[in-house]
């Protein structure tokens, strides 16, 4: 399982990357896309929307199921990935390249509450049981 060490993670299988401009980029993990299977539809939040931590803000739908994506930290949506509407399969091809949306965090320090790669690995192992 690929779990890049430069990213932060959530228990609900989102990945988060802090960018140089202070925004964070958010997507779903390789594990999440494997579980869901072939993506057929992605719904992203509108730019400008203010999200609370843990708020449902996007939907990824595969041939098997639809899953909600939650905001890993509080912030305002600054951009959404325009490619996913016509090509949701990009998430299957490379889950860490096919980002869903970007946030400007209310408080960048909130990132410290998220899991690191090792912590996320542990979550996956505990789910195996």
């Amino acid at each position: 399982m690929i779990i890049p060490s430069n990213l932060k993670y959530t228990k609900s299988h989102e990945w988060v990357r802090l960018e140089d401009d202070g925004t964070v980029t958010i997507g779903i993990t390789q594990h999440a896309q494997e579980l869901l299977g072939d993506m057929v539809f992605v719904e992203t939040p509108d730019a400008g929307r203010k999200l609370k931590q843990g708020e449902e803000c996007a939907v990824v739908e595969s041939v098997k199921a639809a899953a909600d994506v939650y905001a890993p930290i509080a912030g305002e949506v600054t951009a959404v990935n325009p490619d996913l509407e016509s090509a949701p399969e990009k998430i299957n091809q490379d889950a860490y390249a096919a980002w869903l949306f970007k946030l400007r965090p209310v408080n960048t320090a909130d990132l410290n509450n998220l899991l690191d790669a090792a912590g996320y690995q542990k979550i996956l192992e505990s789910e195996e049981d």
Binding site: L35, D38, V40, F41, V63, K64, A66, E89
Partner: protein, 482 residues
Amino acid sequence: MLIFEHARPGRRNYSQSPAAAAKIDDIPQNLLRKVPLLLPEVSEMDAVRHYTRLSQKNFSIDTQFYPLGSCTMKYNPRACNSLAMLPQFLARHPRAPESTGQGFLACMYELQEILKDVTGMAGVSLTPMAGAQGELIGIAMIRAYHESRGDSARTEIIVPDAAHGTNPATAVMCGYKVVEIATDKEGDVDMDALKAAVGPQTAGLMLTNPSTLGVFEKNVAEMSKIVHQAGGLLYYDGANLNAILGKVKPGDMGFDVIHINLHKTFSTPHGGGGPGSAPVGVAERLLPFMPVPVVASENGVYRWLTEKEIPQSIGRLSAHMGNAGVLLRAYVYVRLLGAEGMHRVADFAALNANYLMAELSKAGFEIAYPTRRASHEFIVTLKDLKEKTGVTAMNVAKRLLDKGYHAPTTYFPLLVPECLLIEPAETESKETLDAFVVSMKEILEEAHTQPEMVKGAPYNTPVRKLDDVKAARELDLAWKQT
């Protein structure tokens, strides 16, 4: 092939009969169509053959075992059809005066009474025309109840994560925020999560019992207490009522509102999109909000109760009496069963499910909740099989089609990986269940010896494996004239 593709210009019903031109000279020219109506130009025989062929391609309860979990695909007794299709019922006009429809009204009244009795509710309205509509109306009544008391601070509906997707969708449609609570390792609702979720903001809890995991919520009495103490109401999703029919009443478990799927538990036709029918039952405090019309009986005379008699009613769900023909079928079914028969429905549904679960476990299948007795359905997880062989639940489901069985429900509930949700229903014989186990065992062996073959299934069906990803990404639903 679509019927339009069988069409040839000018082909008509009877080729040998000289066509008599319809006389339309009394219709003003400006109201006549300039372009003929787009209908397939086929002969009667073409049409009969086309639809007969389509019906032969179908998997149905009339031809095959159909263990589709949570859907309760049970046999529809023909007596229900023939009685509901008596010409006196078929020819009845929905707006005919009550005095000329006393027979029909009597059937509806008695069905209301029987459903009240078997669910333990204070009132029943028969009008919702699908499970989802019954749900919507159930939660709308909860909302109407809180609002009538000026209790507008209740903004949340609690839904367990094992619930049918329609539950959270219903809550959202009614303007509520959904709070999802987890399931514990035994398959019951996590009581700590429930306690943490309830509060003055709780409008209600939606619960399916037995749950979609095929187990009876052991703590339902305590759950009811917790939600009621917080001022919320309890909604019962009747999807799995078959398992407890005549045994336990949702009213006794503390539920305030319930919907009943007649197309599941009460054996009306199910599939092809319906028509469904989902009467709602309510506890005393929700009686003023019931959807209309409801049938009343006064001194042996039956009449409709409408907004006039139930002024706080949340309203009408259809122009008349919901799916009247379906309600008649259900009425015949409950009269055929009687109270004793209802017990036997639950007995045999539970027996068949537990027998099948035990036999599949012996055959090497992993049961998702092995410590629990199945209610009327159970879950097999193929997580290990997928890891060892690459064969998925979807592959096994497709291979079952080759063996002549409709596939069980796959990938639901979402919290069990690679799952098959299997519900045999009470109408199947032991021989059918045994034959199904043999086929499942064969597929398990094939998965280990020829996994690639299983992944390519089905082979014996009119169409082979479909590209479901392409179908979902590039929807192509409507035929267009070229």
